[in-house]
């Protein structure tokens, strides 16, 4: 039988606020255990939550970026369950009237484009962390993370493969960083995915029983966990079994998913409106203010790059994958708007390659966009060849902020277009290579390239290759 995979993602995005969503404790990562767990976070008797304005603003910003509705009033509810990293015995979350409802994002896999709709995005607090190693038969609880603001983003079950799921997760990852509401650090848990996975006979419009896979803290794990889970479910169904709805944990070491014991009990979260938090009313003016400050969104920029700069969709996609990269491109290209393709090629090629090699992010790039533009201008006006330009780029990378011009002058790399000088090199090479001249004249085109190469070599790369071509051709046909 042919099976169709159905995937919906729940993504927990840690909001890049300074303080927690309901308390004034710091959310900085990596502090001594429990040193950032204040009275509210450890749920001392009598303490109360007060909502962080920035967390609400970030949620609205996200809602606007995906064209969703912003609910006002929005309501906080308590989700009741016992777990040692949940100090109050309930999580403050949202059930009815989440702050963000609806919206969509565009994903691309290969050259296919697809719109994924979002169900909702709601604000809630993060739990603490349990450490099972290092305390013999005990578990250690660190509540520093407890109370960190989260935006839980829930998609419709519209993805049909792990590839689409990864593309969606990457699109959201890029977007939340783009609009500055999350640092996107997956190692530190700032962006965490849970996947709801089910399969059904191809062509069916009834959803199969789903399993929720937790703990997917990298795109690779997301992909592998889904693939494993899909195979597991198909195996069960094809051998006549049925899927049990359950929460499963992805074990990266074994590359498999397994049922979570702690979630075995049927859940009854007993949601009810939190009486300690009143309805959040969001005035339209506030929404408009946030909208005005919203940066140009990746999708808009992508389209603009295609239209205004004539970039290919592929290039535009890559350049708008991260806001820093797009900004870099834009700062460079404004100095040579006619050469956007050259600019894009250099950023995606030389710049990105070098960054990757040295494990640097674009915002730490030693060559700034103005420097790069200065260099590219010298390529277009013929001052240096593409090859020499790479040497100049290398010098800029190692250097201290010197412009391309400074480096070209200092190293005497200026391309030579003076006919007299080039003629002299041609004379020299032709004299030493009579056989190849004869070959060329006998119709061996290859010989021409060899001659050009030798002329370039004795000019130390400085000869203008176009001019070398023209002059050489002229001499050989004389």
């Amino acid at each position: 039988m042919q099976w169709e995979t159905v995937i919906g993602l729940e993504i927990h995005v840690q909001l890049a606020t300074r303080s927690k969503i309901f308390s004034g404790a710091s959310v900085a990562y990596g502090a001594q255990p429990n040193s950032q767990a204040c009275a509210v976070d450890i749920a001392l008797p009598g303490v109360l939550p007060v909502l962080n304005r920035k967390a609400v603003e970030y949620a609205i910003r996200f809602g606007l970026a995906i064209n969703a509705a912003i609910n006002s009033p929005s309501i906080f509810a308590r989700k009741n369950y016992f777990y040692p990293d949940l100090p109050k015995g309930y999580q403050i979350s949202q059930l009815e009237r989440p702050i963000v409802e609806g919206g969509h994002v565009t994903i691309r896999t290969g050259d296919k484009e697809k719109t994924i709709h979002l169900t909702r995005a709601h604000l809630e607090e993060d739990a603490g962390k349990s450490t099972h190693e290092g305390f013999h038969d005990k578990t250690g609880i660190d509540l520093n993370r407890a109370g960190t603001g989260l935006l839980e983003i829930v998609s419709e079950p519209e993805m049909r493969s792990s590839t689409e799921a990864v593309a969606y997760a990457k699109a959201l990852h890029s977007l939340v960083r783009w609009i500055g509401i999350c640092d996107g650090n997956m190692q530190e848990g700032s962006f965490r995915c849970d996947a709801n996975v089910s399969v059904r006979p191809a062509g069916s419009d009834v959803l199969g029983t789903r399993c929720e896979i937790k703990n997917l803290n990298s795109f690779r794990f997301l992909e592998r966990a889904i693939d494993y889970e899909v195979a597991r479910q198909i195996d069960i169904l094809e051998s006549g079994g049925s899927i049990i709805q359950q929460t499963r944990l992805y074990d990266a070491d074994r590359d498999e998913t397994r049922s979570m014991r702690s979630k075995e009990d049927a859940h009854d979260y007993r949601y009810f409106p939190d009486p300690d938090l009143l309805p959040v009313v969001i005035p339209q003016e506030w929404i408009e203010q946030i909208r005005e400050k919203l940066p140009e969104l990746p999708e808009d920029r992508r389209n603009r790059y295609i239209q205004d700069f004539g970039l290919s969709a592929y290039d535009a996609n890559i350049l708008t994958a991260a806001r820093e990269l797009a900004d870099y491109f834009e700062q460079a290209v404004k100095h040579l708007p006619e050469q956007s393709k050259l600019c894009a090629n250099w950023i995606m090629g030389e710049v990105s390659g070098r960054l990757n090699k040295e494990e640097l992010e674009i915002d730490r790039c030693p060559v700034n966009p103005e420097q790069l533009a200065g260099l590219l201008l010298r390529i277009t006006d013929g001052t240096v060849s593409g090859k020499i330009a790479k040497d100049v780029f290398d010098s800029m990378w190692q250097g201290n902020g010197d412009s391309a011009d400074t480096i070209i002058d200092a190293k005497n790399l200026r391309q030579i277009s003076d006919g007299g000088e080039i003629e002299k090199w041609i004379d020299e090479v032709l004299a030493a290579n009579q056989q190849q001249v004869a070959d060329y004249r006998a119709g061996k085109e290859k010989a021409f390239n060899s001659l050009v190469g030798q002329i370039m070599k004795i000019s130390k790369g400085k000869a203008n290759p176009a001019q070398v071509n023209t002059l050489l051709k002229k001499r050989l046909t004389e």
Partner: protein, 95 residues
């Protein structure tokens, strides 16, 4: 509505309260009486009434995003049942 012994046990489990058979029986009798009283509510037609969750018709005030709290874990943990290396300890949790 009739409460059953299994309701009592289910709810006690949800609330993480150990309950003996005898206590469950006793609670069944008392809670049944209380729910008889509560059942009076069902006589009123409320379809068009908006639920009242809060005592005042107020909206949530928002806090500025400022870190105001300092590290007090030593004081807080001085009253904790069991700690080690500034972690709270509980019996091993199996995920």
């Amino acid at each position: 509505m009739t409460l059953s012994l299994s309701d009592i046990k289910r709810v006690a489990k949800l609330a993480r309260i150990e309950i003996s058979e005898a206590d469950a029986q006793q609670n069944l009798i008392q809670l049944s009486g209380i729910f008889n009283l509560i059942e009076q509510m069902q006589a009123v037609e409320t379809q068009k009434i908006k639920p009242m969750s809060y005592s005042q018709d107020m909206v949530q005030r928002l806090r500025e995003d400022i870190v105001t709290e300092t590290d007090q874990h030593i004081q807080f943990q001085s009253i904790a049942p069991q700690i080690e290396d500034s972690y709270y300890l509980v019996p091993r949790v199996i995920e």
